[in-house]
Assembly symmetry: C2
Homo-oligomer: 198 residues x 2
């Protein structure tokens, strides 16, 4: 494979991260060796080491890019002039796999999560990978600020419930896509937000 | 380690399955080789092969045992004389990790799920491992039969929502146990069932 001419350092790192995702998707986390990633990116081992000195550094970068991309999509929606409830549903839809790209991102996210859980990573990685609980609590507060959230609801319980719902949908969309397609995910999320709002 | 004297064939297989779980928990799915499992169980490779002729057969047995044990706990609750709503919450609590044993079972379940997703398993395994969607639909119907389910709710959407909630909670209890303890899981499940009931 020819290496496209990319001069920007960050762009090149992103290009390598995407090669990493492809390797993880086809060969799993254990197949994601520096050698295989270099080969997938069409780079020599030496050239790859110029960007990432360790495998850990490369995997962390690839992982953080998933979160950064989701955050960028969410930021764009937050700035839009959608009504509050629709905005929340649209933000949530950025956290579940609805197309080929987000499906790939989610697969890497879960593969990484379980790889870490199995004790292979260092402790510092653990702290970086704290999931989206805080973001869910932010959405619950947002609905409350617009006086849309039902008054009797406990915010902590609702944040936890929303967070579990999102990651459960993401997991099932990945593992059981024949049943759980995008349309159904939209249906579930719309119903959930309607049920906690006045 | 001395091998305890177990004569029953099924009991011996269960004993080996439990050794398999311990290996998966400490070394991940890729560490779950027949050699390491035999060593953990205090058996020779030959003795282990007497019970399971392939690694695949052993992993399938260990995996199905997780589901069987959950089903046995659920069956006992179904036969109890708890009121319908409490019964449903208690059944759901059998599908999330609330103690050391169920935490271990869940870890094996997820490790196996992702191992399979990464394409290592044969297709026949795939069909056996279909998750708990049907069971969730059964619980929604059960609430409806007792006239407890809100009439306006769509059964398919509610089954999907409950299923995602359960697996999301299981995942988070495993990965973020400092925040999501048993008490909070009970709170979330109780609130969810209350919210879909009259």
């Amino acid at each position: 494979m020819d290496m496209p001419k990319i001069v920007d350092h960050t762009e090149r790192k992103t290009y390598i991260a995407e090669a990493t995702w492809r390797v993880i998707m086809t060969q799993g986390m254990k197949g994601a060796t520096v050698r295989k990633i270099a080969s997938e990116a069409g780079l020599s081992l030496g050239a790859l080491r110029h960007y990432f000195s360790t495998q850990q550094e490369l995997l962390n970068f690839a992982m953080n890019l998933v979160k950064e991309r989701a955050n960028a999509r969410i930021h764009a929606i937050a700035l839009s002039d959608l009504p509050p409830k629709e905005k929340v549903v649209n933000v949530l839809l950025q956290l579940v796999p609805t197309d080929k790209t987000t499906m790939a991102e989610m697969e890497v996210w879960f593969a990484f999560t379980f790889h870490r859980k199995n004790g292979v990573e260092q402790l510092e990685t653990l702290q970086q990978h704290d999931g989206f609980f805080t973001e869910m609590a932010g959405l619950i507060s947002y609905l409350d600020q617009y006086n849309l959230l039902r008054k009797e609801l406990d915010h902590t319980i609702e944040s936890e419930r929303l967070y579990a719902l999102i990651d459960g949908l993401a997991l099932h969309a990945l593992l059981e896509p024949e049943r759980l397609n995008s349309e159904r995910m939209i249906g579930v999320l719309t119903q959930h937000i309607a049920s906690i709002c006045v």
